[in-house]
Symmetry: D3
Subunit: 259 residues, 6 copies
């Protein structure tokens, strides 16, 4: 019988009796926010839970990894002003993560991985993972959405630099996983007219401008949604789930040098 991968499908006594080391509990963290005229606001939560489900299905039975129900809402204030965007503050999302981590610790687990589906959550999750490691002693990990947005097919330089939201990659993934929720006839192509200078500022990274979507894209799209296809989505998914399965396996048995 295969391992039950959904921790909350078990009773408390079954959870109590699980062998927990090696082992890792995985918390998906999504977002509900505008994704252009053609994608549902559910996109990030839908992708993170579906990619995780596909990944878990590929894990060998000997890898002990259990997924929790998702935190369906993330920090999405960069998309405020677009109806349907739902946003938690950094402080509140941080508190949610700490309190769920404390519960994971109390159950006797040693490792917790945040499986993140939204770029706007990255800073909050990175800070929380560190602080949970320091205060609770759990070994904490972050797996960010760049891991499943890395295309195994060629894309344009514009898409590589600016195709970060509701563009070719994300649209392809939703086409592969939930095509009934995509309105491709509304898909657009839009790249922000970001200052291109001798001193490049980026939207993320070591020299960055804190941006709001409405500063740069009236439709909410950054990228070329019209280039998306279900085939590209399937290719992304296959690559990502293999990579993620290896990472989860490695995390489940991760140990520090001076523990």
């Amino acid at each position: 019988m295969p391992i039950e991968r959904f921790l909350a499908h078990l009773s408390w006594m079954q959870i109590r009796d699980l062998p927990k080391d090696p082992g890792v509990v995985i918390l998906p963290v999504g977002a509900v926010e505008q994704h252009g005229p053609h994608l549902p606001t559910l996109t990030d939560t839908l992708l993170v839970t579906q990619v995780l489900n596909h990944t878990l299905a590929h894990l060998p039975d000997e890898v002990q990894a259990w997924a929790l129900p998702a935190v369906n809402y993330g920090k999405s204030n960069e998309h405020l002003g677009f109806p349907g965007t739902m946003s938690l503050s950094a402080a509140t999302l941080t508190a949610v993560l700490h309190e769920l981590a404390a519960s994971v610790k109390q159950a006797g687990f040693r490792r917790l991985a945040f499986f993140n589906g939204h770029g706007g959550n990255v800073a909050v999750l990175d800070a929380a993972a560190r602080d949970i490691r320091a205060t609770l002693g759990l070994h904490t990990f972050c797996l960010h959405p760049a891991l499943y947005c890395d295309p195994p097919f060629p894309t344009t330089p514009e898409e590589q630099r600016f195709g970060i939201h509701a563009g070719e990659i994300e649209t392809s993934l939703v086409l592969a996983l939930a095509p009934e929720l995509v309105r491709m006839e509304q898909a657009v192509r839009h790249y922000p007219d970001f200052p291109s200078d001798v001193a490049p500022l980026f939207m993320f990274g070591q020299a960055s401008a804190a941006w709001l979507t409405r500063d740069w894209s009236p439709t909410g799209v950054f990228g070329d949604a019209t280039a998306a296809s279900a085939e590209k989505g399937a290719a992304l998914l296959a690559t990502a789930t293999a990579k993620l399965a290896r990472l989860i396996a490695a995390i489940s048995r991760f140990e520090v040098a001076h523990g």
Copy 2:
């Protein structure tokens, strides 16, 4: 074409264009916590989302009501000490509700209903609903799980007084909705040995003792799970969805006297 009841299946432009009054947005709030040896820790979140889905399916098309993705975790500290119980603090759950309500308000909606699946959330949701009404101006409503735990069949006096968790009612509902997650061979019958006095103190209400599950039940059960059946669950569900559909319809057009 029937109305799309899942708000996050829509794009931001579709949400922008929805006629919003009359209308109500519904936020399911669940919990992940011990439910005895025989039920999954997911029970409350599973029930609240499934009951809501069944209710929405029965709503007439002219009722404008849209469900948000669930807040999957609630305030469950009465069940701490049982592995698998995941609990948010009152402060954090309150913050989650306020911030999601602010997003609902920003999208242009006038009414928000909390659809609650867990007794331990009641006080937090009642306080938050009031405060959201006062600070954001949204009309806010609470629908608590007692609405779908009111059996249309006879139960014993013990079950009526003490069958509040993982007993006949909840077990029957999970048997009706997700039987593969129930381990009936582990079901037990347990009533707390609560002081019975000339001056009755209860577990809730106007004269109450703040209880922890571990104070009163080693298995985590309050009630008679062995009396549960899928048939009883189906009967509960039928009664509840009809009642809840009427309540949601009434809420969608609720107005105050001096608005």
Copy 3:
């Protein structure tokens, strides 16, 4: 010599030397808020302290129970917009309760009861009592004002459903306890025109709308203040103090099954 029922009348050495088990410390929690044109804004704090004083006077000497000075202000934001309403936030009132509970615990007591005089405090006190039980280990209890607003005389169905604030019951109690503060010539009768439907929504309980007073009552009254009398107040008081004395006695020796 009778027991000194007011804990703060004792010196720290006397408090240190009290036998504390069985025993309970009682914290009155009131409110200062509009109570219609005829009652003082002090009404809730006045009633809760006076009812408690009368109750303590009826306690047998062998019951060990000590009252603390009142928390004079509660959560009254449902009455904002009416001058003289003073309101603490849920977060602040919660913090007050936790910190006073921690002081009670440090003094060596095992039981703490909140003696509440205001409906708007109920959710906050219920949540705080649970959380204090979980975090401090104190046995915590709530006694809500419904306990002394339960008339031993017949009232109309409208009064029973909607007479919740500054109506027949509260006005009668103030007439009995502080008649000099009542301006009966200003007393009015007002019931909110709450939607009455096939699916009844109430102002409290399992299906409720979060209401503000100004939504429903220009005078601030919910009920029939003109029906009040000092005789009714005296009858309410006699019934209530007997019931409350029994509850406090039971609480003072309350033990859990698996302590």
Copy 4:
């Protein structure tokens, strides 16, 4: 008819109709904490409310000043470790003051004075008064207990420097105001053995050591309680109420230069 000095004795309509400028609302802030073997833990709250009541009784009718119910608990963590000491944190007491000030502002008043009965509250009240002035625009004032602890009779140098708690002054005041709560047979004389140096550090002021009572006084007394008398208390009270009445009158018509 004399002015009703207790604001909460009025109905909301009466409060709405008060002429408010000139005028000041006064919030007494007390403390419940150890006061040696001979005084009740209620001492500070008892003194601040009684001194205020006496002061109000001496105010000319043309001075518009109204007292609120007291905040009965203060910040008393310097006395922790002595049973019966009840302490709010600085953050919580600050929040209480801000929220009550916001309610005072909403009622239409322009001035708020904190009438403080406890040295441990001074820093919190000073900071809160400033911040309420800055954020709410209320004109805010502090009247600290040194105003009524300034003896009109000779005291020793030791008492002047170190008689700060439960000594000659406070004991005399309680003897004058509530003699039945004093156990003079338990009164002691104790001065802390504070380092006396070429570079004097004090317990307050520009060069100070943050002290806890238990660091310096096993009985909780700083001063000579045995030197107290009801006559001294009456003299203190007479001096203080005259001075405080003048201050409250001045505050009630205080205006800034560039308002």
Copy 5:
């Protein structure tokens, strides 16, 4: 070799190996805020760090005292409305102090002194020092700017009462320590037109009005900056550093009576 007085110039191993008792760690706390037309907004931070440096240079080698880098920003909301004023809230400054104190404690030190350069910080630092003493067990001290604003030369009664900000004293100190930052041609003389009454209210102390600078001084000056000179600054500095050196020495070996 003289003792290295700047703690952060040492490596962690050197800090680990310091003999720590007797000994004190000193945290300078400044402010960046308007100081009239003639002084830099840096004034308070500049003075507190410079005065401390001069004081440390005068400490005998056997006194173990180490200075931390300054908290450059303080609570300056009394000066809001004047561009260049930077203000932390009371809550945030309090949190900074607690967290730095916790780090000092973790390093093994027993004593921490706040060396304060701004009157608006006094209440926050006094409260924090007490709370750090109570919660962390560190012996905590406050040295406030009045210690170095006490002139060894005659000043006018107006200057003594109202010369509290950017007047003769502070301007003289900056002239002595950083004359290149003073624009004496812009120096003004201004005393607030504070109500002078039979019942004097002051800007600080036992009977005070919470003031904002803009209420009383359009230039931001309280005092006579035109009376300042570098010579007066040098005299202030000489007096202050001698006094502060003695205080720091006393603090470094301070012990309580019942430790």
Copy 6:
């Protein structure tokens, strides 16, 4: 006369009168934390302020950029357990940044750049920059220390992957800027024995383990400090200041597309 680059050297009237657009205010954010046996705990604060000073000195006069005094302490809890490490929490550092940003906004500036000297601050600053952009409307920027830790000379692959703290780069910079604070005789070479797998987890980035220094390095060093030299430091500094000057110039005139 060259522009005064230190904002706090100006008076409030000078700040009021500055032309502010184009223009940017720069807030250096450092850290005080262990940097191995050979570097001072001040390293990050020292570097960030010195690199900024050098950069400002290279800015053309027409670029309007002003530096604020540094936030000397950062979030350094990854180095707890090493004496001398001083750490603010994420919440407190976030609050500091928001409050200082609000002051910058009130002064009339349009752009604020965080000039960061510590890797442990990155997540907090990224989140705060976004939130300040969203709530205050300031255009907010992050410049992280990787910008000045990018060597213009060859380094080993180990140093590139793991030389992140107190290794060749940072040691070289301190040797160039404050050689008197370096104890090169204590310099060590240490690389963490991080799991090297088919599925690489890193210390930062899209798949990461939240690490504590004590998990991986008993000396606190990650990298080869013995390879450092003042010449390398000078080369790093020259490259960095040129790059940073270009970035600051670009930021000072940054505009969004749909402002």
